[in-house]
Amino acid sequence: MCFQNLPIEFDQQGRPRLREGVEDPYAYQAREIDRSGVEELLRRNGHIKDVNIDPVTRVAGALAFHSVVDLEERKVHEANSIATLFRGYEVILKGRDPRDAMYVSSRVCGVCGGVHSVASSLAIEMAFGIAPPPMGLALRNIQLALDFMLDNPLHLYILAGPDYSETVVERTNPSLWERAKRTETRHGDIHEYRTIADIMRALNPLTGKLYLEGLHATRPPREAYALLYGKYPHPQTVVPGGLSSTVSLKELNETHNRIIRTIDFAKKGVFIWEDLTEFFYEADPKYKQVGERPENLMDTGIWDDPFAYDGTYESCAEWGDRRWATPGVIIDGELVTTNLHHINMGLEEFVEHSYYEDWEDEGVRHRTDPAGNPISPNHPWNKETKPAPVHKRSWKEKYTWATSPRWDRQVMEAGCYARMWTTAAAGKMPHTRFIQATGTSLKMDVPRTLLPAMEIEWKIPEVWNAFERNRNRAYHILYSMLVAYENLLICFEQIKKGETKTATPYEVPKDHRIGVGFWGAGRGWLTHHLEMDKGALINYQIITPSTINASPRDPFGQGGAYEEAVMNTPILEEYDRPEDFTGIDIFRAIRSFDPCMPCTTHIHHDDRVVTREVNTCGCGIE
């Protein structure tokens, strides 16, 4: 029984149904937000600051953050995550040919467009009733892995890395910097940095060795991406039913070459983040609380088995289990389901604190999913995007353009770590040559390159915080490379067999259809839900990882993942005067989510207020 809050029970055959005798099963009473305590604190205490991390907004979209921080008690009293722009891609898609979705949704972001293209194609395939041939599926898997091989190093060394660099640590925590200079690394024999301070120097922006290598590491996967898919980040070859490109041994060999070239950097990265994480934990165990939040994570799984995927909703529980990353929901650290039907059924999206109207007046279009399982009136298949800007932001009422996706009415977190966690815990990963899911870890056999062959094991962590998110991301690069490698071998075998077809022909159906693309970005969960009729889209809903993580409070009074993580973050920075406060611990907490967000800090002071500015891209914004 995976649902604790939704009115869904399971019969003896394990079939879900609405609990009997409940008149309005999905009804809820929205809870008012009580800020009286915080307002009173602000009135009484001069050392409690309203900290606004405001965006400099652009068409790109932005994310801002508001928090109330007690600089004496070193505690965060309130946190609000704010998406400041509405971009309207879902509205633009209504009425269009469904195939346009691959191109329109790709342009949401300047770096991860390809994942949106493929999520669209999956949703379209389900609606059209088609599936790609094995070669097309294996190539699609490689495409996604290449995305991550690019995305994850960029986050670790360019976006988050500078927070752990000499230039930042020396300023925000001088005693920690002194300790780093004295602390020898444990894995210097692999990554060649003798002290933690050496690693921190290498993370210095613009000049540090790791910073520059992180930038350079994005080249090989991007080259391979362009070889196979025409262009990065907006691929030209993604079509419903597969890929329009014809791939030969030449492109596959060149891709293989580029994966191998990057493996050493990825191997070293694991040990760099191991050493950094353990250094912080040992220096002060309170660092385990930075970015801490409940172990509630979810992922749809990714990387389809080329010989099992049929693209249908009815059998998604089966083909989902065959993915190289197993779908799943983790609640309080425990895996409660791997079934894509359950994952989809539990999904709801709320807008009580967002700049949208609800869609109650539109009626409920779907009481069940295509397999007959109950779904909520707040499910994406029932949702309408109805923007309703207000003139004054209110922390009690509406304060963001992001919505509140929830699963079983619980606050969830998306991330590449969610998929590694569900995969490790489920132990279902099929027919893999290089990766083993043990129930508590993922063991990876990484081949010899310049560095020797290694068995590298990511273990489900005992604590969940900012450092574990980053540490996992370093492992996720290798995980992605091994999946790419495995799928390359499948492509070679398909070519040997003469099975080189990469796409399935189709016709655009004219009758009513629905579909969903269960896919993932470097930052985690990605779903595209569509409904079409007469050959045109009548509804399109996208839930990105940043939508989930940046969500505001829900009607049940629960803050989103960023908000929870910041609320739990202790202020460990060293400062004597309020004006010296940089908020680095809060930034580490937020950035650890890889929130499609280059948190850009600009500090302005007056006598009373500390202001910071944070920018993001628009992935979390509808």
């Binding site: 965006p55 400099v56 907004t57 652009r58 068409v59 790109a60 979209g61 400041t84 722009l85 509405f86 971009r87 309207g88 891609y89 509205v91 633009i92 329109v104 342009r107 972001c109 300047g110 770096v111 991860c112 467009g113 986050h155 360019i158 976006l159 500078p162 922006p205 613009l206 994005t218 080249r219 991007r222 080259e223 391979a224 362009a226 070889l227 025409g230 262009k231 990065y232 980040p233 907006h234 030449k250 492109e251 060149e254 700049y355 800007p389 207000v390 509406k398 353009w401 499609c596 967000m597 280059p598 948190c599 850009t600 800090t601 600009h602 920018n615 993001t616 891209c617 628009g618 992935c619």
Partner: protein, 220 residues
């Protein structure tokens, strides 16, 4: 598979090839390597002006050495692609819709002037570009840092009227489209130059405002 693709560079969008060469002042004929690129997001009305213009430009016949590209992707990657270009570009012409507080619905021809970059500003822009933000100023700053810009960089800018999500340009911006296309074409065929001649669009030197001073946009 072209070498450009193998290097992960953009693929030139459509457009035929002619055999013109560009005249150098003084009569020398020398082929210039010219990149024309639109910068911005799609489906954001006037903010997508540069991409719409570059789509139109890609339909024209261009001589060898002129590439028209959709540069609506992360500035780090565009800069890497520009730096990798062989032979290197002699001239870059960017088209974009960007608010700089000027008269709305007008075209501005601006010149990018190489200069000292503030390291904090640069890091901030790289961070944002790395997370998917597409912004012409990010592109110029980051590309300069990576040594990817030639001396001759012209930016043809629209001061946007309407940047809400949507497919069509505002009537004012739509009225400027052919003007921008013709201007880009003229820039592409202009002789190699050491100074910028004035035109009816004027010559302004553009240095992006520091990151923190960019105009705020609040719709809620």
């Amino acid at each position: 598979m072209s070498e450009a693709r193998a290097q992960g560079r953009w693929v030139a969008v459509r457009g035929g090839r002619a055999t013109d060469v560009i005249a150098e002042p003084g009569g020398t004929k020398q082929r210039l390597q010219v990149l024309i690129g639109g910068v911005g997001y799609r489906w954001q009305r006037d903010a997508s002006f540069g991409l719409i213009a570059s789509d139109e430009l890609s339909q024209l016949d261009w001589p060898p050495g002129v590439e028209v590209a959709d540069l609506g992707y992360g500035a780090i990657y565009v800069a890497q692609d520009m730096a990798d270009a062989q032979p290197p570009f002699d001239r870059v012409i960017l088209l974009t819709g960007i608010a700089r507080g000027r008269k709305l619905g007008q075209i501005y021809r601006t010149r990018w002037e190489d200069g000292a970059l503030d390291p904090d500003d640069l890091v901030a822009r790289i961070r944002e570009a790395g997370a998917g933000v597409v912004d012409p100023d990010h592109l110029l700053v980051i590309a300069q840092h990576f040594g990817a810009l030639p001396d001759d960089v012209v930016v043809i800018e629209l001061e946007p009227v309407d940047v809400t999500g949507g497919e069509d340009l505002s009537p004012e911006a739509a009225g400027c489209l052919q003007e921008a296309i013709e201007l880009a074409r003229r820039e592409a065929f202009a002789p190699r130059r050491r100074e910028y001649a004035p035109s009816e669009y004027g010559v302004t030197t553009v240095r992006p405002a520091p990151f923190s001073d960019r105009p705020r946009e609040t719709r809620a």
